[in-house]
C-alpha cells in the first residue's frame, strides 16, 4: 500500500468521476434505442424538465453536506409557488409575488434550521413534519384547486422565455449551479459547510458556528424551493396543490448518485448536476420508449441502486 498508488490510482478517479461515465453510457444507449432522443426539440425539453429537480437538488445538496436531510422540498415548492400565485390573483405585480414567494421559502427554511440546530430535532423528523405542514398549508391556501400563475411576465421569466437558444429555466438552473459551486468551493462559508458535515466538534473548536451554518443551509434550501416552484408554476401557467409531490426523492437521488455522502462533509455540487441529468435523461428515455409510468419508477430505483453499488464497489477496491 504505497502512498502514490493510493493517490493516483485509476480506481479513485473512477470512483470520483464514474458518474459522468454512467451518464454518457445512458445517453449513448438511449440514442441508439430511439430516434427522437437526440433531436434538438427533445433535448430542449429534457433540459426544461431537469431544471426543477436541478434547483431543488442544489438546496438538498447544501443540507446533506452538513449531515442533514431535507424531505420538505417538494411540498415547499408547492407552498411557495401557490403563495405567489395567490398574490398574483389578488392583483399584485408579479415581481412582488416572487418576493413574497421567496420570503415564504426563506421563512420555512429558517424554521427548519432553528428546529434542527437550536432544538436538536433530527433533520429527518423536522423536515418530515414541515413536509406535511407545507403540503397542508398549500391546500388550505388554494382550497384544493389549481391557481393561475401571476401573469405572462412571470411565465416568460421562469418558463416559456429563452435567452437565445437557452430556455430561461435552464439558464436559471445553470446560474444557480455556478453560484452554488462558487460558494462551496471558493468561500469561507463553503469551507464551513464541509467542516460541519465532516466533523462538527472539530469545526466548532476551529471557530465555526455549527448552529449558524446549519440554519443557513436550510434557508438556502428554502430559496431553491421557491425558485423551483416558480419554474413549475410558469411552465403550465398554473400551480396545482399536488405540485412537487415526491420531488424530494428525485432531489435526494440526484445527490446520492453524485456521491454526496449522507453522513455529510463529502460531495461535489458539480457532480450533483450530473446526477440531475441522469435522472432527467432516464425519465425522458423511458417516456420515449413508451414504458409505463409504474415500470419507470422500478427502473429508476434499480439504476440508483446500481450506481451506488458500483460506487461502493470501487470504494472498497481503492481501500484494499
Amino acid at each position: 500500500m504505497t502512498l502514490s498508488k493510493r493517490k493516483f490510482g485509476g480506481a479513485a478517479m473512477l470512483r470520483k468521476y464514474g458518474i459522468i461515465l454512467v451518464l454518457l453510457v445512458i445517453c449513448v444507449a438511449v440514442s441508439f434505442m430511439t430516434d427522437s432522443f437526440l433531436r434538438p426539440s427533445n433535448l430542449q425539453s429534457v433540459a426544461r424538465q431537469v431544471s426543477i429537480n436541478g434547483a431543488l437538488s442544489i438546496g438538498v445538496c447544501f443540507v446533506i453536506l452538513t449531515g442533514g436531510i431535507d424531505l420538505s422540498v417538494g411540498s415547499l415548492l408547492a407552498l411557495t409557488a401557490t403563495t405567489s400565485a395567490l398574490m398574483g390573483e389578488s392583483g399584485l405585480h408579479w415581481v412582488i409575488c416572487i418576493l413574497i414567494g421567496i420570503a415564504v421559502g426563506l421563512l420555512v427554511g429558517l424554521l427548519e434550521g432553528v428546529l434542527v440546530a437550536r432544538f436538536k430535532i433530527a433533520p429527518f423528523i423536522t423536515t418530515l413534519a414541515t413536509m406535511t405542514i407545507c403540503r397542508g398549508a398549500t391546500q388550505v391556501a388554494d382550497g384544493g384547486t389549481s391557481v393561475r400563475s401571476p401573469g405572462s411576465g412571470f411565465d416568460n421569466f421562469f418558463g416559456v422565455g429563452s435567452l437565445g437558444p437557452i430556455p430561461m429555466p435552464v439558464l436559471i438552473m445553470v446560474v444557480m449551479f455556478v453560484v452554488a459551486w462558487f460558494v462551496l468551493e471558493k468561500t469561507k462559508f463553503g469551507r464551513h459547510i464541509y467542516a460541519v458535515g465532516g466533523n462538527e466538534k472539530a469545526a466548532h473548536l476551529s471557530g465555526v458556528s455549527p448552529k449558524k451554518v446549519k440554519i443557513i443551509v436550510y434557508i438556502i434550501s428554502g430559496l431553491c424551493c421557491a425558485i423551483a416552484g416558480f419554474i413549475t408554476c410558469a411552465r403550465l401557467s398554473s400551480i396545482t396543490p399536488t405540485a412537487g409531490e415526491g420531488a424530494e426523492m428525485d432531489a435526494i437521488a440526484a445527490c446520492v448518485l453524485a456521491g454526496v455522502s449522507l453522513d455529510g462533509g463529502k460531495g461535489s455540487v458539480g457532480l450533483v448536476f450530473v446526477g440531475v441529468l441522469i435522472i432527467g435523461v432516464l425519465n425522458n428515455a423511458l417516456n420515449l420508449l413508451g414504458v409505463s409510468s409504474y415500470w419507470q419508477d422500478i427502473v429508476k430505483g434499480i439504476v440508483i441502486l446500481g450506481a451506488v453499488l458500483l460506487e461502493s464497489a470501487t470504494a472498497q477496491r481503492s481501500k484494499e
Binding site: 502512498l3 502514490s4 493510493r6 493517490k7 471558493k186 468561500t187 469561507k188 469551507r191 464541509y194 467542516a195 465532516g198 466533523n199 466538534k201 472539530a202 469545526a203 466548532h204 473548536l205 476551529s206 471557530g207 465555526v208 458556528s209 455522502s261 462533509g265 463529502k266
Partner: protein, 502 residues
Amino acid sequence: MGECILEVKNITKVFPEAVALSDVSMQFRGGEVHALLGENGAGKSTLIKILCGAYLPTEGQIFMEGQELPKLNVKKAQALGIVAIHQELNLIPGLTVAENVFLGKEKIGVLGMVDKRYTIRKTKELFERFKIDLDPTAVVSNLSVAQQQIVEIGKALQMESKVVILDEPTDVLTDKETVVLFDIIRELKAAGKALIYISHRLDELPEICDTFSVLRDGHYMGSGNIGDCTKADIIRLMIGRDLSEQYPYVPGKPGDVVLNIHDVKRKNFGDKVQLEARSGEVLGLYGLVGSGRTELMKCILGIEKPESGEFILNGSHFEAKSVSKAHKAGIYYLTEDRKKEGIVTNTPVDFNMTLPSLQEIQNGFILSNKKEQKLCSSMVKQLSVKTPSLKYEIQQLSGGNQQKVLIAKALITKPKLLILDEPTRGIDVGTKRDIYQIINELKASGVAVIVISSELPEIMGISDRIVVFHDGVITGEFAHNEATEEAITLCAFGTKKESVAV
C-alpha cells in the same frame, strides 16, 4: 491462594505507531483480586484487550488453565469465561435487569416467546447466591450508574465466567456504592474466580486487592503482594525513569500574566480555581483523567459556562461569546481527542490547517488557492510535517503528523495563549520530541503555553511550572526544579501539597 487460571507469557503488541506491550508475562489466580497498575498509556488497556480477544498479540502466548489459547477472539474469550466490565457500560437501557442479564441467552418458550418468568427466577437465584440486592424486574434506565455496573457483573456471573476484569469500576461510584461493589467482589473471590482490577485510586487497593502487577511504557515492572508494599513503593514502580534525554527543557522567561483564571468554579464540580498563565512560560496541568482540566479550558473558550468566577485577559475581563472570538483574542485550544474533535476526516491537509484562519487566505471574499498553498507549505516546512502533498486526506497521515497539522492550524491563528491538551497522546517518541521542541520555540517567542498532560514524565520534563488537579481542585503547585514524581503523584491522588513531605 488458588490455582493459576489465566496466564500470559512474553506478550508483545506492536502497533504501526508504537510498541504498546513488550515481553509481558503475568499470572492471574483463582480466588484472588489482582490489581493491574500503571500510568495512562502504560499498556494496561492493551493487555486487557488482548485478554478479551479484541486484539491479537504480535508475539507471546495466553494460557487458560494450562491450555494455550491461540488466535483468541472476543467470542471465544467469552465462551471460555473471560469477561471485562468497562467503564462504558454495555446495557440496553429499555430492558429490565433480568432481560439484560440473560440477553442472548433467553429461554424460548411456547410460540417462540421469551420465557420471562424463567429469566426473572434465574436472575433472582443468581443474585441471591452472590448477595446482590437488586430487583430483576427493574428497568435499567431507572438505575443508578452503580446499580448498572452491578447488572454488568450479573451478566458476567450468568455466563459462568472464570475471569472477571474490572476496568476502573469505582471511578464513577460514591463511597457508599463502592462498599457495595467491594462486598460483591469479595463474594466473587470466595467463589474462586480470578479478578483483575484496574484503578487509579491507589488508596483503595489494600482494601480489596491481594496482589498487584505494574506496567510502565509497555514493560512489565514487577509484581507483589499488596500487603508487603507501601503506596510509595508502588508509585516508584509506576514512574521513575530518566527524564533528561526525552525532554529538551530550556528554562522559560516568564513575562506578564496573559490570562488570569480568577476563582472559576464549574457547576457541580470541584471548587474555585485560581490560575495564571504567563507569556514565555509553559504551565503544565497534571491530574488524573477526569480531574476537570479539559473542562476548565473549555470554559475559557466559552463552550462551557462556569458557575462563578471570571477570566482576565491581559488585565481586562474576558468572556468568549464564541470560539472564533476566543481565537481573535489570541486564545487557541488544541483538543485532546484528535479523532473526535481535531481532524475533519475526508478533507485534505490544507483544508484542516486553514479552517480557523480562512480570512488570512481571502482575496476580498474569495478564497485564494495560491495564498493557501503558500501559507500551508511554509507551515509544513516549519514543523516538518510528513505528508505526500497538501491535498492528501488528513486521516491517512500517521497520528504524529496529524497532530503536527493540528499544531500548524493553531499556529496560523497566531495565538498569544496556546492550550495544548494531551499534545503527544498516541504519538511515537520521535515526533513527541519534535513537539516538545515546537513548544520550546513558542515559549521563547513569548507565547503563553498551557499543557495538559496525564503523563507525569512529560509534564515534569517540559513545564516551567506545574499545577496539579484532583477532582476539580488544585492540590499543589510546583516550580520546575522543585517537582518530584512522588509529590506530584500524591497531589494527583488528592493529598494537599502542604502535607506532602517533599
